[in-house]
Subunit: 453 residues, 2 copies
């Protein structure tokens, strides 16, 4: 189909978008075509245009494309791209190709990219750009604006201007461009005292925390500062991209799988099976404990098969309430509304919630049994009222247990050093299922004692 | 405890933050104190500072605070705030108070706010601001920069400049400020031809789509345009806020509940029970069908109680694979990687995925039964090999069915006009449970025909 579109009437429209349309539109069009077209474009288009295309994080398979290009072209392209995106592309290229490319670059570019590549993935340092406007404090506003005019094309943003000590690289102030154009052109930057000291982040700050900072202070960029020295800046559009990625990761993990690192429809079949199969098997092996629990209570089951009728209903209610509590707590943690120290506050909230919700379901469940019995829709045997009581009480216990387990699991994971977002709905359901069965059979043994059991 | 902090040694630090710290820090401090402090601050602080505080969407209970202030003060505050945030606050204030406030305002402010309030929630129009820089095409670059210097403080962003026909309000061009300061000061705006026509959105565009547009084109703001005329702009920081909110909504809904509209720890107990109880009851009532299915197969169950041992295991596997598929599809839809028309492509992907994943679990499940039997850990009876085959085959069927159901549910919801993100993990699990039981008993009846059944 792709071949057809290219060969057919739309070829002219595609060529136009590729040549002069917005780079984002060009990438969207390229992603629908065979990779050979993207390769040809990156090789033959004017350098600036090719770099602009490669600068879009949405371009599929960027590092494979780069690996297939002649080395000199790649070095030129990486130099013309934004530093943070060039580092992204290099990060995905394996050694020794990466070292060879770095070696072929100009020393300043190599230093900038090596610095970014040195920070661990997911840190502020790893997504920062080194292309920002920094000026010494003795410059005047007019000279700074002149400087901005000259460097405008090579800087990711010129809307944040950093006043930096030329010797030590220590960050002194940060100005918004709007502040500068409103200022007296002859004033020296060092003499304009900003209202507040700049908001900064250390290079090892988690990307989510950087997003939180940018959002909280409504910034367009935040400087990354180490020992007082500015090493780069993170811009709001990088944060947007990062938030989308994190959102996808969290959604996939909450669904009970490893996060896919490619779009669903482009992901290789076997990679996808790998991302899903691992968790699915782990959950399956844990859930096998339910069979052991059932075996343990088999004698009771044989005496009162009627009890088995409600097993799926009761188990799923525990899983559902747990899934609700987990999603609430994971999200509140991601938004920094609650921290590890708040676990007992959350527990004190989930305990009554679970009791109330469990009582609601318990009443409905017991009423259903009574109603079916009275209406003659089903005969639950001579002890039907005790069966109804068992189901009702078990639901109170299981929903309460589910809410508590679901809300505490993210805390427990965080406490032992895992990402709390690994607490998925299926994970919680599995935890609750095993204990839920034990609760059900215990309640049954107590309520039905001296009758069928 | 809050009283203590205020009365204790930290009072001076809090007072300092409230008086001159960053507004976001002041709001964070205020949110930890009794509401009376926030009220006093909004009433007594200098107007500009009070408006700055109220401009932070993070301020808890903003509309209650505003409702408690004297009317003249509120009118002054709303005038000093950004228009989009003022509209947010007004939206949360009920009639007739809202109409009275609007009536007391200056006509231009009233018109601006009424326009924003007129758009449905969740649309571009409802989150846009009317405070942007718009200039006629005959102005020079120098005059425009002068204008920006004058209006800088009253505009939400001055980094995007809109060239607008003064008569018709038709949007002609959009410039970034960086482009303007690099241009010849004497050039007329109408003569500088930008490379591309401005990216715009209609006022009824869904907020998620606005975020997508801003992110795709790396914009700092996008103009909202109706019939060619500019009616407002949406800025990147509003989009960030909106994305966080949407992320929270999606997380809560995927957890199987209505989205909370307040932070978890601040939400009223009864409201939270309401948001959770509704879905929990709906799921419970649907899940009751499992009891009916079990009743239907009760004769088989009584003959082969051993079959009940694996019910929780088998049901949960279907739910887990469904939860994975749902989270994949919801996310891919949110990122616009797939549309409604792609449903059959997704189905063609999920069918083999489900078969492979089901076969994996089926092998593990059957092996477990064989192993336990051989090791003498449990006696599954004379037909243990048939039981193992039943469990293995049922798992293939149920995991495949779960993957298909989970992936198709968001499409079905979207098709009938619901939000695909309502397809939660518990929702899918419930759908899969009922059919899963039927699959299990059907497989058992076929495999065990002529033996115990």
């Amino acid at each position: 189909m792709n071949e057809y579109v290219l060969a057919g009437g739309d070829a002219a429209a595609i060529a136009r978008i590729l040549a002069s349309g917005h780079a984002a539109d060009a990438v969207e069009a390229l992603n629908r075509e065979p990779r050979a077209l993207a390769l040809r474009l990156l090789e033959e288009a004017p350098l600036e245009r090719a770099a602009e295309i490669l600068d879009q994080p949405e371009l599929d398979g960027a590092s494979e494309l780069v690996a297939a290009l002649p080395r000199e072209r790649v070095v030129d392209l990486l130099g013309a791209m934004s530093a943070d995106r060039a580092a992204d592309v290099l990060r995905a290229i394996g050694e020794p190709a990466r070292a060879q490319l770095l070696h072929a670059m100009t020393p300043p570019l190599r230093r900038a990219l090596t610095a970014i590549l040195g920070y661990p993935e997911g840190s502020a340092g790893s997504i920062m750009t080194t292309e920002y406007v920094s000026v010494p404090p003795h410059w005047t506003v007019a000279r700074t604006l002149d400087h901005i005019r000259q460097v405008e094309r090579s800087r990711e943003t010129v809307y944040a201007i950093y006043v930096v000590d030329p010797e030590s690289r220590v960050l002194l102030h940060a100005f918004g461009l709007r502040r500068l154009i409103a200022a007296d052109p002859q004033a020296r930057l060092g003499d304009i005292v900003p209202e507040r000291s700049p908001v900064t982040v250390p290079p090892l700050t988690d990307v989510e925390q950087v997003a939180h900072t940018i959002r909280k202070y409504d910034l367009l960029a935040v400087p990354v500062v180490e020992d007082g020295r500015i090493v780069g800046i993170v811009t709001v559009d990088d944060v947007l991209d990062t938030m989308i990625e994190e959102g996808t990761e969290d959604a996939h993990r909450f669904g009970g799988m490893e996060a896919l690192d490619e779009p669903y429809m482009r992901m290789g079949f076997l990679s996808m099976i790998g991302k899903r199969g691992g968790w699915l098997c782990a959950l399956f092996l844990s859930e096998m404990l339910t069979a052991s629990v059932m075996q343990h209570y088999e004698v009771a089951l044989e005496k009162a098969v009627v009890l088995t009728l409600f097993i799926p209903l009761i188990m799923s209610s525990g899983g559902n309430s747990g899934s609700q509590a987990t999603s609430l707590v994971i999200r509140a943690m991601a938004l920094r509304e609650i921290t590890l120290a708040d676990w007992w506050r959350v527990a004190l909230r989930e305990l009554p919630s679970g009791l109330v919700l469990g009582a609601m379901l318990g009443l409905v469940g017991a009423a259903r049994i009574v109603a079916w019995q009275y209406l003659g829709l089903y005969d639950y045997g001579p002890y039907w009222h005790l069966i109804a009581a068992t189901v009702g009480l078990a639901l109170v216990g299981i929903v309460t247990f589910g809410s508590l387990t679901g809300s505490m699991l993210p805390f427990a994971l965080k406490r032992i050093g895992f990402d709390p977002a690994s607490a998925s709905a299926p994970f919680v359901a599995t935890l609750v299922d095993v204990t839920g069965l034990a609760i059900y059979f215990t309640v049954a043994a107590l309520v039905l004692a001296g009758t069928v059991l």
